[in-house]
Symmetry: C2
Amino acid sequence: MTQEQYSKYSFLLDRTARKVKQYAQQQFKTGDFDVTVDQWLVLKNLSENNLLSQTELANLVFKDHPTLTRIIDLLCKKGYVERVPHPQDRRSFQLHLTESGASKVVSLRPEIHQIREKAWENLSPHDFEEFKRILNTIYQNLNGESLDQ
Amino acid sequence: MTQEQYSKYSFLLDRTARKVKQYAQQQFKTGDFDVTVDQWLVLKNLSENNLLSQTELANLVFKDHPTLTRIIDLLCKKGYVERVPHPQDRRSFQLHLTESGASKVVSLRPEIHQIREKAWENLSPHDFEEFKRILNTIYQNLNGESLDQ
DNA sequence: TTCATATATTTGTCACACTAACTATTGGTA
DNA sequence: TACCAATAGTTAGTGTGACAAATATATGAA
């Protein structure tokens, strides 16, 4: 694997990831979803897992702590999330989806599914499995220590 | 392709693209390369294609104009690139790699190859071809009009 | 108890992505 | 010639990502 051409994967990977995010964000915007793609990821994970700490949530969505702090700030401003003081540990918060946040997740979930499917035209379920396998292998190759599933 | 699980590709794609960039950036940093990953992409394309306009370069590297403006600004500050006024069109510039920029490209190219190869451990050349095919298909599915190569 | 160390979160800085608005210039057309 | 739409590039605003450092609290050992 010493050929010149092998450098191109990083370009294609970055380009495609940006396109996927950009496409979704445009659809979010025309649909007046009132959240960004990354804010949606956080909301979705909170809806499946209430009362997480910020650290736990950061590990779920693979964002670093400063980034997550700022996303939570924005979601709090919009009224979708609340920071509840942790009863035992005064350093940390339990993140709580508000009524408004919960209904936002319910209403957006099917629409976002449709948006996500668009990328898979002309591709097979087998392609999907291969894609996931390759992405996970690359991730683990570069991840140093842990295997995290 | 209507299953719940098909939403996950966007998460894995984003996560892996970030990891690839982060890994490379760390290596760039420990090697004192004095450029970011995106600045390298621009330098590399300039070295293969001198005297491009910013618009032409933007189309090559798939970055938007404001982003490219700032990357060029930084590369000019570092002395790797110059903006030469276009002889016929006073709106535009021809981008020119300086001596310093050209030798930077020569010295970094092999090191960056090594960094990029790390991602492909445990993967085959066939995986590489499949990966490129899937990435390009997704890109084109979302790209609306053009097929760009 | 007290101190060193670890953990949870925030803040600051720099780089990049996307949008919108703006300047300057060009080129076609009335 | 005078206008006007299109083009090249820049600037500003917001959101995100990575990294370093700061703050507050917790925990374990001396």
